[in-house]
């Protein structure tokens, strides 16, 4: 069988160009070169595949010039016409992970070339792209390179050849929401007994079917006296003053914003907009009250239905933002809301 042609994508760090200070390095292609982790991949590919070109791009460059970087890289990949595209592995590097996921998904979607990547399960790129491309589950640092390559290379060969892909536990990819049948070595009853023994001994065990995510929050008791209550607005819909003064990221937000709306009766096209990159912003930009209903609450304030609208609102973009980050943001501004005597919060999404 002819060797599969592979194009490999890595960031400036793994290309040994530099760290954060070189993260604005623009995309370039090195035809015929095998760079950094490509060496280990090449070794593992053996006779099955070879890297015919390596694309290097700085993480900041990619994320800040998303459309251009994507278009440039897609053109480079198209030119090489590989059988399979491999990005990373990105381990726990957040922006690198998002870049790997973005470009792998784009190559697959727009060029029709199968793609795989790899990263740590908590990398925000994993949650964002696991349903779009196969993402091999890696350790959280580059110390896990060998383990990552051992899964990434065979999976790349399989998708490159268009072979059937087995279950996540067999192939080593992060579960992607698609249930795949396969035969275990032992029958179910034996697996159940073994699982029970582990559970009884308080040892770690792995369920074969994780229940759907139950991050449920018990609702607070109803606000009894709305007419005297101080109500605040909080949104993950990315509403910010025009110009996005605090540069809240369009996705994978690293922080939230706190803005004063004292005296603001209505959010207009001239004064507010959304920073969110995960939905069509046209209607939110036209009238941000559609996401953050300041106008309606001002009316209710006037009518005496609510006591008052708190003069500060809190905002971030929910798009691709890690759950851990969201929790941290909320813990911080909830304390502020409490200190300011807010009785209730209206939390809007998109």
């Amino acid at each position: 069988m002819a060797k599969l042609k592979v194009v490999h994508y890595i960031n400036q760090f793994f290309a040994q160009i530099g760290g954060e200070e070189k993260a604005d390095y623009p995309a370039e292609i090195r035809v015929g070169e095998v760079v950094g982790p490509g060496m280990a991949l090449t070794q593992k590919f053996g006779e099955d595949a070879e890297i015919i070109a390596t694309i290097v791009c700085g993480d900041s460059y990619f994320n800040e010039n998303l459309e251009k970087a994507k278009a440039d890289i897609l053109a480079m990949v198209k030119e090489q016409a590989p059988d399979v595209f491999v990005a990373g592995p990105a381990f726990n590097a957040g922006r690198y992970g998002v870049a790997c996921g973005t470009i792998a998904a784009a190559v697959q979607e727009e060029l029709g070339i199968p793609a795989v990547t790899g990263m740590y399960v908590e990398n925000p790129g994993a949650d964002m792209f696991k349903t779009q491309v196969y993402i091999v589950s890696t350790k959280n640092s580059a110390a896990g390179m060998r383990d990552a390559v051992n899964k990434l290379a065979p999976l790349a060969v399989k998708v490159g050849r268009g072979e059937a892909i087995g279950a996540s536990s067999q192939e080593g990819y992060i579960p992607n929401g698609v249930r795949v049948n396969f035969f275990e070595k032992e029958r179910g009853s034996k697996r159940a007994v073994k699982m029970l023994l582990k559970k009884l001994a308080d040892k770690p065990f792995e369920t074969e079917f994780p229940m759907p995510d139950f991050d449920r929050v018990e609702p607070n008791p109803a606000v009894k006296d709305l007419a005297h209550a101080k109500i605040a607005l909080v949104t993950s819909g990315g509403i910010v003053p025009k110009g996005n003064p605090d540069h809240i990221e369009s996705s994978s937000a690293s922080h939230y914003g706190e803005y004063d709306i004292a005296g603001v009766m209505d959010l207009t096209e001239e004064t507010y907009e959304t920073a969110h990159g995960g939905y069509d912003p046209v209607y939110a930009n036209e009238d941000s009250d559609r996401v953050l209903p300041v106008d309606v609450l001002r009316d209710m304030e006037k009518e005496g239905k609510i006591g008052e609208l708190h003069h500060l609102f809190y905002t971030t973009t929910g798009n691709g933002t890690a759950v851990a980050s969201s929790k941290a943001f909320a813990a911080e501004f909830s304390a502020k809301l409490k200190a300011d005597g807010v009785d209730a919060v209206i939390l809007t999404s998109t």
Partner: protein, 426 residues
């Protein structure tokens, strides 16, 4: 209780003038077996056939699969309350004919029932491709009601299996396994340091073709109760269901319950296998509440540390499974549950109709919606007329080249929820 289970290996089945077992070969007199089947006047005719592993044979529509056994020592007989008189079983000595099964087939309703392929891709999924099968296709008398026909075929299968089992009464088993349970007090004294564990088995109990019988009693009418795990080995629980064949327990699975076997294997070593608790899966929600309250209560009263809960069927039983799991866990008893999945043909849908965070240890028998192409086989035992109407199949199932495009649902026992198979999913 102490049950010695003698295994008699059957290497071949042949039709002959006289029924007997000799050198591991089962000879069956069709005439004698027919007479046994036709004892019920509701059955007009019966035809027998033999299907062997690897042969290009498809059996359908399958109703039940039964392993012939005979009780040689101790109280009662095989299938108490059904064939033998009501008497407590599970103690003494029983012989089982290993490597073979009696398979009943016959159309009861037009959309029903399962497929057993003896070769090809389907054979990888149904466990009964591995047994030598004595198949009996029963035709009912004209104008019979479905209820009566179902019962007639069910009983005919047990009669014939019992008849075959009796042929082994005077043989010497090739191998003997001993299953011994303790009383509550004995167990505590004997294994003071071992975790106390039980098996909670949920039984189909929803209505026609969805029923299970315990000592002859419709499981819909029981409240959860405790059995010695050896009782099922003598046929204390039998199947009356076959719709959506992949995750129904044929009687064969009750006789050879894999959770019972695998818990016994650890009994006295890593666990103290305290009891076999049975409960049901009724459609009426108050029944579900009562039954799950009771299973949790029994787990508590038995001072259990852990339990394995197995399911039977889809949808309605998902709710029982989660209720049982949640309530048993709430009593401080750790659970592992066994289920199967309906994740859609693309595997992307939510697998169960109910869920709870306490169900954190799940074993799955795989996605029953997975599509499989079953090639045309040389011989069909039963009739293909109905294959196109079985659950998971449709009128358009039969393709031009004679192959069938179906979901795993139609294969008898394919995604069994007692953990009978190796199939799983992630």
């Amino acid at each position: 209780m102490r049950l010695e289970l003698g295994h008699i290996y059957i290497k071949d089945i042949q039709f002959a003038a006289e029924s007997k077992i000799e050198d591991g070969i089962l000879y069956v007199s069709e005439e004698a077996a027919r007479a046994v089947a036709l004892e019920d006047e509701k059955i007009k005719s019966v035809s027998f056939d033999i299907a062997k592993p690897g042969e290009s044979v498809r059996i359908t529509p399958v109703k039940d699969v039964i392993e012939p056994r005979v009780k040689v020592e101790g109280r009662g007989g095989i299938f108490p309350g059904v064939i033998a008189k009501v008497d407590t079983v599970g103690d003494g000595k029983t012989y089982a004919l290993k490597g073979m099964a009696v398979v009943t087939a016959g159309k009861i309703v037009g959309f029903q029932e399962g497929i057993i392929d003896m070769t090809g891709p389907g054979a990888d999924y149904t466990p009964f491709s591995q047994t030598l099968n004595l198949v009996m296709v029963c035709e009912p008398v004209d104008g019979i009601k479905q209820h009566d026909y179902e019962a007639a075929v069910r009983f005919a299968g047990f009669r014939v299996a019992t008849y075959i089992g009796e042929l082994a009464r005077d043989l010497t088993p090739d191998e003997t396994k001993v299953y011994e349970t303790c009383t509550i007090k004995e167990g505590m004294e004997k294994y003071p340091d071992l975790p106390r564990v039980a098996y909670v088995q949920m039984l189909q109990s929803q209505g026609l073709l969805h029923d299970t019988y315990v000592y002859g009693v419709d499981a819909k009418k029981i409240v959860p109760t405790i059995m010695s795990p050896t009782e099922v080995m003598d046929g204390a629980i039998v199947s009356g269901n076959c719709v959506s064949a992949c995750d129904k327990n044929p009687t064969y699975v009750h006789l050879n319950n894999p959770v019972v076997e695998d818990m016994f294997e650890q009994h006295g070593k890593t666990i103290n296998f305290v009891a076999h608790i049975i409960t049901n899966e009724n459609v009426y929600l108050a029944d579900k509440q009562r039954s799950s309250d009771w299973t949790a209560k029994l787990c508590k009263m038995l001072d259990l540390d852990g339990a394995i809960v197995s399911q039977e069927g889809f949808g309605n039983p998902d709710t029982d499974l989660i209720m049982n799991c949640k309530k048993i866990e709430a009593e401080g008893v750790k659970t592992v549950i066994i289920t199967d999945e309906y994740a859609g043909r693309d595997g992307k849908s939510q697998s169960l109709a109910d869920a709870d965070p306490s169900a954190d240890a799940v074993v799955t028998g795989g996605n029953a919606n997975q599509v499989i192409i079953l090639p045309k086989l040389d011989k069909v035992i039963g009739t293909l007329d109905y294959v196109t109407k079985i659950a998971g199949a449709s009128e358009e199932t039969l393709r031009e080249d004679g192959s069938l495009e179906v979901e795993l649902q139609v294969l008898t026992g394919a995604t069994n929820e007692t953990g009978f198979n190796k199939l799983s999913a992630r």
